[in-house]
Subunit: 223 residues, 2 copies
């Protein structure tokens, strides 16, 4: 038994809050970011700052070029990031992204002897993403408990998604209480090289509304 946990850290607002929650719960936090060829690669720089300021034990950035597969506005330059909220599953959805990231986290968790994986998925604001739903997380946990040597040896893996039912405003209130510096985080799908946000994409709009609803000043740097 260790107190290790793997935290999926994108560099956005949600995953930073998730790390703060894991840290406050007493876990030794191993942060994992995936450089998957995302447009908004400045979020990886944000992840480095967030991991350091919240006291991660280690932070790994693993490269996996999902742009080779395409199919998303976030990895395919020929698909535009939309600036109006659409019905249904948005074009910013990256095929199987959370499945892939959780799988890599599972591999690292096994090496570390970590029984907990934290992911900042949220079913409220991003209800359009199939891989942010509670039933998806439950199915991944079931898979994880068959997939590994640890599982065969009887050690259960738990997928922790403490934000899954929270509103953006709730997440911001909680993170602020736990000392998250949201000025370090980048949510924008088309942030510039300095990490400054566009204020126009879905992700920016949801974030702005979240700060407004939480009654907290928005520290985001806009272009």
């Amino acid at each position: 038994m260790t107190n290790n946990a793997v935290i999926l850290l994108s560099g956005g607002l949600d995953s930073a809050t998730c790390l703060a929650i894991a840290k406050a719960a007493g876990y030794t936090c191993y942060c994992l970011s995936v450089d998957y060829g995302q447009r908004h690669c400045t979020e990886l720089g944000a992840a480095v700052k967030v991991a350091a300021s919240l006291g991660a034990a280690e932070h790994k950035i693993i490269k996996l070029d999902l742009s080779a597969i395409g199919g998303s506005a976030l990895t395919d330059d020929t698909i535009e990031v939309p600036e109006t909220m659409a019905e249904g599953i948005p074009v910013t959805y990256v095929p199987a992204r959370n499945t892939i990231m959780l799988s890599i986290a599972l591999g690292w968790a096994e090496v570390l002897g970590a029984d907990h994986i934290f992911a900042g998925v949220n079913a409220v604001d991003y209800s359009g993403y199939p891989d942010c739903r509670p039933e998806f997380i439950a199915a991944f946990e079931q898979l994880a408990n068959l997939a590994t040597k640890a599982a065969v040896e009887g050690r259960a893996i738990k997928i922790e998604t403490p934000l899954i039912q929270l509103s953006k405003a709730d997440i911001i209130r909680l993170g602020t209480k736990l000392g998250v510096d949201y000025s370090q985080t980048v949510s924008c799908y088309q942030a510039d090289k300095q990490g400054q946000a566009c204020a126009r994409c879905d992700s920016c709009k949801i974030r702005q509304q979240g700060f407004a609803d939480a009654g907290t000043p928005d520290p985001t740097a806009y272009q």
Copy 2:
């Protein structure tokens, strides 16, 4: 509805047979290999030959550096590849490898509109690997059917593992009938740069025994 299938192709004997089966069943085959930092990277060269000679529609090699995570003799240079068969889960097990590869295949399948993913996993010879068991595959299929936009839209994904209950000899007999050129495949965990096998590791021993049991001449080039 398409007739597309994604085939996980390592360059080994099993996945080559799996591709031949999918092809014979009439699928348009999109082959996926993962360059995960494996010692035996000559198997990727083998995958290129196999995909070409069996008429794959496309072959993608995606890079994901699992050696950053370590924990296996196949990705960590400090762990020796054993030359005696051990009880239990071998040190050549790569943490969460099949979960990760199936996840990437799932992402590509979604982009291609493919409803079938073929994986040459085998529960007989590699019973020591937890992620080669039928219950693992069933759990992954369940996950896949919650994870994707396609699933939300009602399109079911099927994970096909036609070799899962076959012996190595049965696999070789079937592949030979379907025209697989096994001299192109590399199974050895420590093959040299020319793809020549060591004849000493577990994987070599299982392969040699398979050809012997099938009564088929072994076309493998040994060091």
